[in-house]
């Protein structure tokens, strides 16, 4: 019991929270065909964090989020700039920008002394979920004990806050988001703030990518942005139902991922846990695969099956 609360509870909560936040935004990213921009932003969260560290000397939450938002906007800006200046196809523009920025982030990270602040390239790539221990976690009563709760890994309140912000954004901007996602020209013609909505969506994506960084690292954040919403898309035609499905799949992926990674090997007779972040991505993939075969709305409109 104590072992569960100390070692598994916090990673479980963090995984579920992170997956849900990513799924919320991911729904709109994939509907707007911006999944690969989300991919790029997840990669460029790394140089954003490194930049914040260089400027402020710490990796406190606020500078990191600001660094991430700035780097997200730089990413999108550079992609647009390069598309406009070079006539190269969007995929290549995206690929050129994010690889360069990511490379820069990795080199700077390797070359500066960050040993004191727990960032290194390993964690940047696949996160550090297993190490988020709740020392004061004993049993169910710890959940309502303020003294014990103070000791929770800081990622949990941080992610809760971001969940509130992202949910708030979706609720307040519901109409502009939905209209501009499904018909951008119509949206512009009726005065919907298309640019601002897009700008906010990108910024929140970048901030979320950084917040989930701790949990699953920057590459696997992409799995959380794409897989649950994609699976949900195959379940229904209605967007709010899709969002609900995506939250279910996200929570499932997060929870199962952590549990299988931590306890799975034990069930098979091995001793060590495997990567929780990797397992979350894998489980999300399996869920998506199931949806591809069984989802009621999986068929494409054009073309045969």
């Amino acid at each position: 019991m104590t072992e569960f609360f100390q070692l598994t509870f916090a990673p479980l909560m963090i995984a579920v929270l992170a997956s849900c936040i990513c799924a919320l935004l991911g729904n709109f990213l994939i509907l707007r065909r911006q999944a690969l921009i989300g991919d790029a932003i997840s990669h460029t969260a790394l140089p954003g964090i490194v930049g914040a560290f260089l400027v402020t000397g710490t990796i406190a939450a606020i500078p990191m989020m600001i660094g991430a938002a700035i780097s997200g906007l730089i990413t999108v800006g550079l992609i647009e700039l390069i598309k406009r200046l070079t006539k190269i196809e969007p995929g290549a523009a995206i690929g050129a920008v994010f690889t360069t920025m990511f490379a820069l982030g990795v080199i700077v990270l390797e070359q500066t002394d960050t040993s004191g602040i727990h960032i290194d390239v390993q964690h940047a790539l696949y996160g550090n979920l297993e190490s988020l221990i709740w020392f004061s976690g004993q049993d169910f009563r710890s959940l309502i004990d303020p003294a014990a709760l103070r000791d929770l890994p800081v990622q949990i309140p941080r992610l809760l806050l971001i969940l509130v912000i992202v949910s708030g954004f979706i609720v307040c901007f519901w109409r502009p988001l939905v209209i501009s996602t499904f018909d951008e020209d119509y949206a512009k013609s009726v005065g919907v703030p298309v640019s601002m909505t897009g700008f906010l969506l990108i910024s929140l994506t970048a901030i979320t990518a950084v917040a989930c960084f701790d949990a699953v690292g920057s590459i696997l954040v992409i799995a959380m942005f794409v897989c649950p919403p994609a699976a949900a898309r195959l379940m229904t035609d209605r967007i709010w139902v899709q969002i609900l499905w995506s939250l279910l799949f996200a929570a499932l992926g997060g929870a199962l991922g952590v549990i299988l990674a931590g306890y799975g090997p034990l069930w098979f007779g091995f001793e060590n846990a495997v990567s929780a972040a990797g397992m979350i991505a894998t489980v999300s993939g399996i869920v998506l695969a199931a949806a591809c075969f069984l989802g009621p709305r999986r068929k494409s409109v054009v073309g045969a099956d």
Partner: protein
């Protein structure tokens, strides 16, 4: 100054060949708008490499033999490519969602398998992490021969089929009328890019190898409007950035190879974008200014 050992020189040459192959086939994947599919394919190779390692261990083969690992990588990458096509064709998900899903899930699976390997008693895993960001320094002579050989093969095939590839890229209907089968050529292009990406895993790593297939061709585009010239230039740029990147990374301290190669490519890109006489920004600006001048002259003479 620096003493280039025999091994370092070999690594530079092998990486150079890889860069040339990536630049060559990359020209066509960019033209066919499949750059990011190649990215996903590179990530998809990772679990294949891990599984090949484990199978190799079971069978008693030297688990780190690059050939074994690359075979596993190619099989997995092929599966990844097939999955992207299948998802795009048979479900209503778009190509970008399919690419994002395959990319991230296969990377996740690869990471899980890596952590499994880490716990195995042989502990030979240390070599496998190099496949994520690349490590030219850890390339041994057999690796260089394998990678160089594969790259040369790819370059040879592109040279052989370059006419068909150019036609397919620019005018599909003309391709059909001139006896070229565009679908088969597309398949060839994707197959070759798959091979290059997997071959490049050791040097440049899964995350960044795709940059070698995107940045050199787009840099070359600034220097010429001719597809064949672009391909040759792209190969040269790729070769020089990849080999210098390998050298710098091998000599330097705490410098994974992939990022160094990419930054060198990016520098060439920036220079080309600004200074190239054919399509560079300065040249375009000068042409526009000349045009404005001439128009003003013409207006004054009316």
């Amino acid at each position: 100054m620096f003493e280039f050992s025999y091994n370092t020189t070999l690594v530079a040459i092998g990486s150079g060949l890889l860069g040339a192959a990536a630049g060559t086939i990359g020209t066509f994947t960019v033209l066919r708008k499949r750059s990011l599919a190649s990215d996903a394919v590179g990530h998809a190779a990772l679990p294949g490499v891990a599984i090949a390692f484990m199978v190799g261990l079971l069978l008693g083969i030297e688990g780190r033999s690059l050939f074994v690992l690359l075979v596993g990588g190619i099989i997995a990458a092929g599966i990844g490519l097939y999955l992207i096509e299948a998802i795009t064709r048979h479900t209503r998900l778009n190509a970008d969602a399919a690419i994002g899903a395959v990319l991230s899930v296969s990377f996740g699976l690869g990471v899980v398998l890596l952590t499994v390997i880490q716990t195995l008693p042989t502990g030979g895993q240390a070599g496998l992490e190099d496949f994520i960001l690349g490590s030219a320094a850890s390339m041994i002579r057999q690796d260089v021969y394998l990678i160089g050989g594969v790259s040369a093969l790819v370059i040879g095939l592109v040279v052989l089929f370059h006419r068909a590839m150019v036609i397919t890229a620019f005018d599909r209907s003309y391709a059909l009328t001139s006896g070229v089968n565009p679908d088969r050529i597309d398949l060839l292009i994707m197959a070759l890019s798959l091979v290059v990406v997997v071959a490049g895993l050791k040097a440049a790593g899964a995350i960044l190898v795709v940059a070698l297939m995107i940045i050199p061709p787009t840099s070359a585009r600034f220097w010429t409007n001719n597809a064949v010239t672009q391909t040759v230039l792209s190969a040269l740029i790729g070769a020089s950035c990849a080999s210098s990147g390998a050298l710098v990374s091998a000599i330097g301290d705490a410098l994974p190879t992939g990022p160094v190669m990419v930054l060198l490519c990016a520098a060439v890109f920036l220079f080309s974008m600004i200074f190239a006489p054919a399509n560079g920004l300065l040249a375009n600006e000068r042409r526009r200014a000349q045009l404005r001048h001439r128009l003003r002259q013409a207006a004054r003479n009316d």
